[in-house]
């Protein structure tokens, strides 16, 4: 038992270290939501299995091999699933179940000391409404709905760093501005994180997030004052 605890603590430390320079944020703004990631290795996946069922997966990755191994596993899963059932049956809940299972399987594998540093933000349309999931490296997931906090994050270093960042971001009053303005405002706070910057905005209509309002045009790097 003690050996297992030591093993998990070892993995935990390695993963936290690998993810400390990465950040992923879901920020709720006025009638919009912004997804922002900054990491040396960003995994980005988009699929539309059928009408009204967009699926987005973003991950911050501790290493290029973590990212590639996951990508292979996801493609394999999609292929096996499509053969077993149908590509039409893919939805965001299924992807969330698969990813949490994958992360738990890797983290709690007592035969391997290899750390897998991945944290996810999932976005998907379910029953005509956009749903977001945040999944941490241990496979714990949290669904973000209308009642959730305005700002949720993955990565971001240790708990004190995260708390400081959240405090700073909450002072910006992001809930009163549009998603595009949020991206501009929070950019300077992400300077200490390294890697590529990725941002995506979603527009809310009728008090719900709807798939047809997905705006992918902000994929370019925003200008950040230095």
């Amino acid at each position: 038992m003690n050996d297992l605890v030591t093993l998990f603590n070892f993995k935990n430390d390695k993963i936290l270290k690998a993810l400390s320079g990465n950040i992923g944020l879901v920020v709720r703004g006025q009638n919009s939501v912004a997804v922002v990631l900054k990491s040396p290795h960003i995994f980005n996946f988009y699929r539309q299995p059928e009408e009204n069922k967009h699926i987005f997966i973003w991950a911050i990755c501790g290493s290029i091999s973590d990212m590639r191994v996951f990508e292979v596993e996801l493609e394999r899963f999609l292929s096996v699933f499509s053969d077993t059932f149908s590509g039409r049956d893919l939805n965001i809940n299924l992807i969330q179940d698969f990813i949490t299972g994958y992360l738990k399987h890797k983290f709690y594998d007592d035969k391997s000391a290899e750390p897998v540093a991945l944290e996810f933000i999932l976005g998907g349309v379910f029953e005509r409404h956009m749903v977001f999931y945040i999944i941490n490296y241990e496979g714990s997931s949290e669904v973000l709905d209308q009642k959730a906090n305005n700002i949720s994050l993955v990565g971001g270093g240790n708990n004190e760093d995260k708390k400081e960042l959240l405090d700073n971001l909450s002072k910006l009053g992001t809930e009163r501005v549009s998603a595009k303005q949020i991206i501009k405002k929070i950019g300077p706070y992400l300077r200490k994180y390294s890697g590529d910057f990725f941002a995506l905005t979603f527009t809310v209509t009728d008090k719900k997030l709807r798939h047809k309002d997905v705006d992918r045009s902000t994929k370019k790097k925003p200008k950040i004052k230095k």
Partner: protein, 263 residues
């Protein structure tokens, strides 16, 4: 790989190992466990599209060996989900295996992921369930096989769909009518002759009842509709619905009244 393990953990019967050598012995064990493993539903089951939906029907007879009658009360139409149903002909052991796994898969998927399995997903899953049973058809000269049909209403496409299978899992979608069982060949021409693209549910019911009368007259493995009412159900955009016995009796009475040769 984790992908296979994950799918196996959620939908047990379809892991890669289940489909391989281990699956083979499992199927044999399943046969041993079956108390009445010689039971057969010789059967007529079929599905028929009409203007706004699909009608699925099955007779009521379960046979033992070639000539014995075990029951004339068998329900061969099985509701799978809100918009789908299946019916099978063949070896009862395989049929119960298919029905159990299909209903479990449909309800599990709905509970876990919040939506019904699509018609294509159900057809693929059924194909995967059938594949491990290929050896039964070889060893028993195509006698101990299970052959299902699947009738669904596809809400995304807004149209009814029918899937017809063979004993190895191969399936296709007939244009408007498909079925299985020893009495099916006898009714194929009759249904094709009467079928119309824009016919309503009542007209489809009359054709289906006439077909059941014909198949019951031609095969000892099919219950006679005059003695035991067949089971019929309709699936349309409102979902699955059984056709009540009163309506079936009325349709039967009308046909017998008008058709001298069937009295």
């Amino acid at each position: 790989m984790f992908a296979e393990k994950f799918i196996e953990s959620r939908f047990k019967h379809l892991g890669a190992e289940e489909l391989g050598i281990r699956g083979f012995s499992d199927q044999l064990k399943n046969c041993d466990r079956e108390k009445f493993n010689r039971m057969h539903s010789n059967t007529t089951v079929f599905a028929l599209k009409f203007k706004n939906g699909v009608l699925i029907a099955g007779d009521r007879r379960m046979s033992d060996g070639f000539l014995g009658i075990v029951s004339d009360d068998t329900l061969k139409v099985k509701e799978l989900a809100k918009y789908s149903a299946m019916a099978c002909a063949g070896f009862c052991n395989i049929i119960s295996f298919l029905e159990t796994n299909m209903t479990t898969a449909c309800s599990t998927f709905k509970s876990l992921y919040g939506q019904d399995l699509s018609p294509d997903g159900q057809a693929n899953f059924l194909r995967n369930l059938l594949e491990p049973w290929w050896f039964m058809s070889v060893y028993t000269w195509y006698w101990a096989v299970g052959i299902p049909i699947l009738a669904t209403y596809d809400m995304s496409l807004g149209m009814p769909r029918i899937f017809v299978f063979d004993d190895s899992g191969f399936n296709y979608e007939p244009e408007f009518f498909g079925g299985a069982g020893c009495g099916f060949e006898a009714i194929r021409g009759l249904v094709v002759d009467h079928w119309r693209l824009d016919m309503n549910e009542d007209f489809a019911l009359m054709i289906a009842m006439k077909a059941m009368l014909h198949s019951g007259a031609i095969s000892h493995g099919v219950s006679d509709a005059r003695l035991k009412l067949p089971t019929m159900a309709v699936i349309n955009e409102d979902g699955f619905r059984w056709i009540p016995d009163e309506l079936l009796k009325k349709a039967l009475g009308l046909i017998l009244e008008r058709t001298e040769g069937l009295k």
